[in-house]
Amino acid sequence: MPKQKVGFYFILPWLVGLIAFTIVPMLIALYISMTNWSIIGSAEFVGLANFKRIFEEGMFYETLWITVRYALLAVPMTIATAFIVAIFLNNNLRFIGIYRTIFYMPAIVSGVAVAIVFKWVLDPNYGVINSLLANFGIDGPNWLYDPNWVLPSYLIMAVWGASGGLLTYLVGLKDIPRSLYESADLDGANFLQKVRHVTMPMMTPIIFYNMIMGIIGAFRKFTDAYVLGGAGNQGKFYMVYLYEEAFAFYNMGYATALAWVLFVIILTLTIIINISKKYWVHT
């Protein structure tokens, strides 16, 4: 490889950005989280009081529990959905390209528009889901307007958007050597046995990747929750709580402490999953 210093000049913009937009803000975040700062007025150093308050606050546990419950259900559900859809799409049929485009659509359309559309799709009276249920004589729930049905509403959206990782599964499926299936055929394995004993083990690296991304995504969930909310505060995910503390109530110190706690949670989960890797991820 060529010259030493030249390379350093090329990465310089990133290094400056790292200092300006990551390292300095992190140091400031460390300080702010120990003050009672609220934008106006001066900040007072309060030590670990913000962190103490977090663990005494009912809202912290409530929003964390909503987020954790969502993550526990949404992550496996989306992984399973994307995996199954990918197996179906991994066939050389005519028009398969059109199907792929359709299934991939939810992955790139996101944001407020989709959240609003789902609010309307899930409308208890005039929405399309309850109308379909009514055709089968089922009296549909009030979805986002019923505290018990808020989480299922979010799960429906998650499964619909499960194709976020679809392309990764498709690429992974393409990389599985034909010979593995051929020898399974020789052993007389049926379709489900092949999925269980060839496809699944070979796909564990992809599942692992999507699991980490899914968990991080679940803990950072904001847009849908901010737009849709949900009855009885059941749509108040952790990030919405953090956002409100910071930008609605200007409790900058407390909100920054919340951000650190989120950081530690995500970091811990990522480390745990990484450790678990050697027990179930095929290499």
């Binding site: 060529p2 030493q4 030249v6 913009p13 407020v112 309307w120 399309v128 930008f247 950081f263």
Partner: protein
């Protein structure tokens, strides 16, 4: 032989059936959005619902634009996205080139740091960064949304570095003999060679801007500076009875650019996943 080909045909039929059913479910929200956008109020609020609009009622689009200046918001978002894309793509490529094609002191440590920042949740730095920008007098402006892009993006750098590493060493060697500088080699050889990868990144950058709510929510206050996400969010949060017809019309307009990208540039997404080599 005969029974075998019959089995294949039945399998195919089942596949098509399942895929078609799945597609219907995938498209249902879009269908319902468009159907509602094209119906007058008295056809929207009916039980049982009216699946297809009876007439082509375009008034919802006009009503939507009367309530919120959607075109203005679209323009604002395009402006931010355009200013951001250039910096994010070019600088990320520059940095990736540095990491991929040179050896220098602390390179590996610095690259580990880069990887670490990819995992770092943006939320931790969100509040301090907001405070810094406000202190500098850039609150309620697009600067905090655009300028950081000009320092590169960790995930884009990571992706492009892998791409640049695949080229043979001889690529620069012959150019160096011809007296080209490294910057010239980057611009004249690496950029043209990597068009597909740069396109992929450009698209990710655009989608990131188009679909972002949190960042825009924090920095932008004046309604005339709203982006499409902020405009839609404020439209849906308006008090009083929800104007579902106009709201669906507005949502439809907001999704058009993204859907166009999907239809015409899908191969770049696939390319991106193939290249990112996430297979552990």
């Amino acid at each position: 032989m005969n029974s075998n080909s019959r089995k294949v045909r039945i399998n195919k039929a089942i596949l098509y059936l399942v895929l078609s059913l799945g597609s219907v479910l995938m498209l249902l929200p879009f269908f319902w959005m468009i159907s509602t956008a094209l119906k007058p109020d008295n056809a929207i609020f009916t039980v049982p619902i009216q699946w297809f609009p009876q007439t082509l009622y375009l008034n919802n689009f006009i009503r939507a634009m009367e309530v919120v200046p959607i075109m203005r918001y679209m323009f604002n978002t395009f402006l931010i996205a355009a200013l951001k894309i250039f910096g994010e793509v070019f600088v990320s490529a520059l940095v990736a080139y540095g990491f991929a094609r040179f050896n220098f002191k602390y390179k590996n440590i610095l690259f580990m740091v880069l990887l670490a920042t990819m995992m770092l949740p943006y939320e931790v730095t969100m509040i301090p960064t907001f405070i810094i920008w406000s202190r500098l007098g850039f609150a309620d402006s697009y600067v905090p949304l655009i300028l950081p892009a000009y320092f590169g993006s960790a995930s884009f750098i990571f992706f492009l570095r892998m791409y640049f590493q695949t080229y043979p060493k001889e690529l620069e060697e012959s150019a160096l003999i011809d007296g080209a500088s490294y910057l010239q080699i980057f611009i004249r050889i690496f950029v043209p060679l990597s068009k597909a990868a740069l396109m992929t990144i450009g698209m990710w950058s655009f989608m990131g801007t188009w679909n972002d709510l949190l960042g825009q929510l924090i920095y932008i206050n004046s309604p005339e500076k709203y982006t499409i996400q902020l405009g839609l969010a404020s439209f849906s949060n308006m008090t009083g009875e929800t104007l579902w017809g106009p709201l669906m019309a507005a949502s439809f307009i907001a999704l058009i650019p993204v859907i166009l990208i999907l239809l015409f540039a899908q191969r770049y997404f696939t390319e991106g996943v193939k290249m990112s080599g996430i297979k552990g």
